[in-house]
Amino acid sequence: MVFSSLIFICRFLPAFTLIYLLTPNRYRNLVLFVGSLIFYAWGEPVYIGLMLFSTVLDYGNGRILEYARDKGNRGLARAVLIESVLVNLSLLGVFKYTGFLPLPIGISFYTFQTMSYTIDVYRGEAPVQKDIIAFGAYVSMFPQLIAGPIVKYKDVAVELNHRELSWDDAYAGIGRFCIGLGKKVLLANQIGLLWEQAQAMPAGQMSVIAAWMGSIAYALQLYFDFSGYSDMAIGMAQVMGFHLRENFDYPYRSRSITEFWRRWHISLGQWFREYVYIPLGGNRRGLAIQIRNILIVWALTGIWHGKGSQFLLWGLYFGVLLILEKCILLKWLEKLPGIAGHIYATVTVLIGMTIFARNSLQEGLYWIGMMFGLTGRVFSGMTGWLLSNYGILLLAGILGAVGCGRRLAKYPMVWAAVFFLSMAYLVDASYNPFLYFRF
């Protein structure tokens, strides 16, 4: 099930909310667990076993780690940690990269979550979860199950066992959900249509402006889609009393790639930072090691997003840019006016997004070529048509993406309007893609 569907909004959500509210506090994790399994099973009943396996395994790992710690058996603790990481990565590897089996939705997210649990427990940074229902609720929690954010165990450890409902949270959470729904349905899906049309453009109509419009459209679609999902997740979790961390912070306002990745998919960046980059030595062991670490992290970030060489290249592209920035670019950018940084970051991000968007590396590079005049045409009839059809939406999208609407997003009247419009768009939906099936 996806959030931006009538079945979720008009069936699952009211039914789940009602049952959740009527259940005494101590059984609410059970309701959350079972509800999440139903949510997941709706689209992929076969893979529910996989998720349960992951849940039971890492629950067990946690208990053994606790036992090992009590006994002072460091060898055992280490072995369990390695076993957990290996099993989770193998699951991910088999399903994601071999291509023999269809990809279970959300596997990239929940395997990373369960790994964070064993690692946190191993490091003594999180308590062991003795209640398998609570642990199951953490792994399968439907708000962030299929598209993140990736919630580290230690961030919700306390709220898993002790959380309260409050009107403040419910109110803010509903608002957040409505805004996220609007981002997905009103902006991402609609701007995505422009990207679809730009991609389907006949060769004789392709132009420089159309190529840029297409890339900008995709960058906006991905941002609104992904951050909209995160907003809905954070909002629904908040209604239940969980306070998740932010996942996006207006990334398109950035003045460098370093800043961009501090603002884009924050939970993934932090996960890699905490569990890969810092354990590898981070920046404390000299520049050469740091550059190696950056490249490792970004190669992994790329691969995490999908199989296919374009994802690896996409990750390394950002890795190389980050290294360049560390060594020289950031110093230069500091001396230049702010606008230079914005232009630099926007162009490099758009190029990166284009590599990411196309089905193969070759197509991505070809598209980038067209952005810089490969077709020898700056404008065309169809370009004008798309511009007149999508100009206003594109402008609204750009303004929204850099945060011009953040004040508006605080009014309950705006939430209600966005919600009703989203419903209208969902009822007449012809284009409502789920972008994360390959993540």
Partner: protein, 346 residues
């Protein structure tokens, strides 16, 4: 509870009630089988089986059912369309919003007419077979298209005659068909080409059947800047018609019972039947019309020239057309249909 908290509680409560309200309304609304607006069967409640659940097909069909049967669906669509218009969109769900309320859409041919024409020529001889390419509304009404797009249709006498009358009311604004007047001009050009004397427009009675006709384009986006008038020009030929070899209970060329409904175009030939056999009191041969819905309001003019007219819509005709027609002592064959016409950009 503090005042601020009270307000928040009320908001949350209202939101929850609205969510449940959608569900309740859905349960209370009776499912529809067919949508006259969208001209298609609507999804029905899927039957639950364990295997369909495990394959995931139950989930998808359930969602299709929910979307198709959503209470007040047409009104929701209309809200969406209005919102899109505010955003300056000229193309919504495949409908192009032209000037003065004219709506356009790309068209797809409903059968391989070229192949059929060739088969008919082989069977009945080249002379006996003729064809009317119904021009796309956008080709004739270029001036009403939104800026930046064009449609191109086969250039022939029919197109020329329609273009000569482009300032008259020859295409519906909210429907993809021509009006009966448009059909007349196509018929006129065709008759002249075949060496026949067409009926004179001035001699026919003109009746307005409906002042507020809304057609297929409207049905897709539930928006119009103006309703259509449905006019009828009476050729004054009395004739009888048998539908689908008598398996259908309707009879007669015109079906006034549809005039008040959402699909008023069915007034002509009861919409699309696989086979309609018309007998007139005229002297003349036996004409077979292979057609799509563009022929429905053109066939009445043909009754002046033939003793028998057999109308076939290949989409719903399950026998071999050529073989069957050979047994019916057909003397002429006419193909009336629209070709596939895609939008092009200037």
């Amino acid at each position: 509870m503090k005042r601020e908290n009270q307000k928040k509680a009320i908001f949350c409560g209202v939101f929850f009630v609205v969510l449940c309200g959608f569900w309740l309304a859905d349960v209370l609304c009776k499912d529809r089988i067919y949508s006259d607006w969208e001209k298609r069967m609507l999804a029905q409640r899927p039957e639950f089986t364990v295997s369909s659940l495990m394959e995931g097909t139950y989930g998808t069909s359930y969602e299709e059912w929910l979307t198709d049967q959503f209470p007040g669906r047409d009104r929701w669509v209309s809200v969406k369309t209005r919102c899109e218009i505010l955003l300056g969109k000229k193309e919504i769900q495949g409908i192009y919003l032209g000037k003065e309320g004219y709506l356009f859409a790309e068209s797809t041919q409903t059968a391989d007419w070229d192949k059929l024409e060739q088969q008919m020529q082989e069977r009945f001889g080249k002379e006996a077979v003729s064809r009317i390419h119904a021009p796309h509304a956008g080709t004739v009404l270029q001036e009403y298209l939104p800026q930046g797009i064009r449609f191109f249709s086969a250039e022939d006498d029919v197109l020329k005659n329609l273009e000569a009358h482009k300032n008259e009311y020859i295409y519906f604004k909210t429907d993809h068909h021509w009006t009966m007047l448009g059909a007349y001009y196509a018929y006129e050009a065709w008759a002249r080409q075949r060496g026949m004397k067409p009926l004179e427009l001035e001699l026919m009675d003109r009746v307005v059947l409906r002042e507020d006709f809304l057609g297929t384009h409207y049905g897709k986006i539930h928006y119009t800047a103006g309703e259509d008038q449905m006019e009828f020009y009476d050729p004054g030929i009395s004739c009888s018609a048998v539908y689908d070899l008598g398996t259908s209970t309707v009879s007669g060329l015109y079906q006034p019972q549809h005039l008040d409904g959402e699909d008023a175009y069915r007034y002509f030939l009861d919409g699309n039947h696989g086979l309609v056999q018309i007998t007139t009191e005229q002297t003349g041969g036996h004409l077979a019309v292979l057609k799509d819905s563009f022929a429905n309001n053109l066939v009445p003019f043909l009754t002046a020239h033939y003793g028998k007219i057999t109308v076939i819509d290949p989409r719903y005709f399950r026998m071999d057309i050529g073989e069957w027609l050979s047994e019916q002592d057909v003397t002429e064959v006419l193909i009336v249909a629209q070709d596939t016409t895609k939008v092009t950009y200037e």
